[in-house]
């Protein structure tokens, strides 16, 4: 089970992040998780949103370059060592992580969500499921 992540190319100049977030806000798109990878000249803003199609279309209309990637949203226990367990499951199966970032914490059931980008999505899914981890679907994510 995977979720869609949007990546937006942003030049390093004042006002760009502000523009992206405002455009999404005005389109009533809710950002569930994000991370920004930056270099000297540009950044890639990675977004998990409640309505991917609307977000991508709106950003493109406004002249942004956007691409979609399948990533995993893993539910882990919000306790010391929770993340380490998930990493171990991947490491044991020799799966390398391209990047990851944390999404949100659910205080009701003490769980946290982690966005994972791996090279081989299907083997990562098997590894995590076998180790007892729950992978969130797009629908579930939109509903959270």
């Amino acid at each position: 089970m995977t979720v869609k992540q949007l990546s937006v190319f942003i030049e390093n100049r004042p006002g760009r992040l502000s523009a992206v977030t405002r455009i999404l806000g005005d389109a009533q798109v809710n950002i569930r998780a994000m991370s920004l990878a930056d270099t000297k000249d540009f950044g890639i803003l990675r977004l998990i949103v409640d309505d991917c199609e609307k977000a991508a279309a709106t950003l493109k209309e406004n002249g942004f370059s956007v691409t979609a990637t399948q990533v995993l949203a893993v539910k882990i226990n919000d306790r010391p060592g929770g993340l380490a367990d998930a990493m171990k499951a991947l490491y044991d199966d020799n799966i390398s992580v391209e990047y990851m970032y944390s999404a949100f914490i659910n205080t009701e059931d003490n769980t946290a969500y982690l966005i994972l980008r791996v090279e081989n999505v299907s083997s990562a899914q098997v590894a995590l499921s076998d180790a007892g981890f729950f992978l969130t679907s797009q629908e579930e994510l939109s509903g959270i």
């Binding site: 190319f9 760009r16 990675r46 493109k60 002249g63 370059s65 956007v66 990637t69 980008r117």
Partner: protein, 435 residues
């Protein structure tokens, strides 16, 4: 050895020069008519035959030749002698259809080297001098041209080629080089390196530098003269007409004397093609009247300049051209290399799978050209990792380098971020203020 390499020619009266040019032109027109079908066809299309050209007053009747003709004729279409009579090929720096290949017979090489010998002599060179040639050697005409001229003059010639600057300076010191020949930007760089090595011009024996192949300013001249302790002379030429030495500067440093016994210069209106009166600013057109293998009639250089016949204090009567004041096309000279924006567009589209929305930004920092190409990114070029975008920038950079022969910094930018003017992207921003 005197002040001139060939006093008879260099100080010839205007009347005698006109007579010499006329004789040579008539002969040259007949030569190309007889031997180059492409020329004959162009002349026929204009309704001109060799009988119509009786002297330089008839030059304007001939059709122009452009870089497009040269491309169409690549490689042998303009060759006017049997290939077996040719002994050398030189070529322009650009590639991908923009390459110009020039052929030389031994006679052509002799004349070319003679032109360079005049330039070296005008810069004070004699057989007592040690001449360090740090222009690139190879297909580029800079190294071979000055090398040949230096031999003719009888200088002890150091065929260093460009690069390895500390070694250049080492040789200058050890062998007491008195003359250097290179691009002005490389000369400036050598000057900076001399300083960085803790040396001063007094540690060197340089007295003259012959610098060309790219535009440079008077400010740059003064800087180079100060940093290397020499007098800097400009030299002009293009591969199409032979190479450096078409025109050269004398001690007056107020323009370059054109070797009129080999090249007839005209100034035209770039839009109408009409010949302009002497002293007007316009596009420089050359007719090579002595070349055997690759003679060009009325070749449009696209360089904008002014010709002057004002009396020169050096005594030469050869017409003087100003430094090129601009171009009548979109060619840029970056780091001594001819760059057409269309070449960059073609690389982006055909090799790099990128968008053709780009902008070239050229500047000069510490007397060296900087060259940046901004390319608009599209969704297909985007990925979610920084690494893959950096790889894409690197790929474009390598593609550009393989075609142009010079490196550019590639910077990917957001879609539609390059300013458009009347729907067209502004392709070139040249901040060098060279003209």
């Amino acid at each position: 050895m005197g002040k001139y390499w060939n006093e008879e020619i260099e100080c010839m009266s205007r009347e005698d020069m006109k007579k010499l040019q006329s004789e040579r032109l008539v002969k040259q027109v007949k030569h190309v008519w007889d031997n180059v079908p492409y020329y004959r066809k162009k002349m026929e299309e204009k309704g001109v035959t060799p009988d119509d050209v009786k002297g330089i007053e008839d030059l304007h009747k001939l059709p122009f030749l452009t870089k497009a003709d040269l491309r169409e004729c690549y490689p042998y279409g303009l060759l006017a002698t049997p290939l077996k009579d040719c002994v050398r090929i030189q070529s322009t720096s650009g590639t991908t259809g923009k390459r110009v290949v020039a052929f030389y017979t031994q006679h052509d090489l002799d004349l070319w080297e003679d032109c360079c010998a005049r330039a070296i002599t005008a810069a004070g060179g004699t057989d007592e001098d040690v001449c360090q040639v740090c222009y690139g050697y190879g297909l580029f005409t800079g190294g071979p041209g000055l090398n040949g001229g230096s031999h003719k003059v009888g200088c002890l010639t150091l065929p260093m080629s460009s690069g390895n600057t500390e070694r250049q300076i080492q040789f200058m010191r050890d062998l007491g080089s008195t003359i250097i020949c290179c691009t002005p930007s490389y000369a400036a760089y050598i000057g900076e390196t001399v300083k960085e090595m803790g040396l001063t011009p007094d540690d060197l024996k340089l007295k003259a530098g012959i610098f060309g192949a790219e535009p440079w300013t008077e400010e740059m001249r003064r800087e180079i003269e100060k940093s290397l302790g020499l007098k800097a002379y400009d030299i002009y030429g293009l591969t199409e007409t032979s190479g450096p030495g078409v025109a050269f500067e004398c001690e007056e440093q107020t323009g370059m004397h054109i070797n009129e016994d080999n090249f007839i210069a005209e100034i035209i209106d770039p839009d109408t093609g009409e010949v302009l009166p002497e002293g007007s600013k316009g596009e420089l057109v050359f007719t090579s009247i002595t070349k055997e293998a690759f003679p060009l009639l009325r070749y449009r250089t696209r360089d904008i300049c002014i010709l002057s016949r004002e009396k020169c204090s050096c005594g030469r009567t050869l017409v003087k051209m100003t430094k090129p004041m601009g171009r009548s096309d979109d060619m840029l000279i970056i780091k001594g290399v001819n760059v057409f924006p269309s070449q960059i567009e073609s690389v982006l589209l055909k090799m790099s799978n990128a968008t053709p929305n780009y902008q070239i930004i050229v500047d000069r920092v510490n007397n060296a050209d900087t060259f940046e190409i901004r390319v608009e990114l599209n969704d297909d070029m985007l990925s979610d990792t920084v690494k893959s975008i950096e790889e894409l920038e690197k790929k474009i950079s390598n593609d550009i380098h393989s075609i142009l022969g010079i490196k550019a910094k590639i910077r990917l930018v957001e879609p539609k971020s390059i300013p458009r003017s009347e729907g067209k992207a502004v392709r070139v921003i040249d901040n060098r203020k060279l003209h």
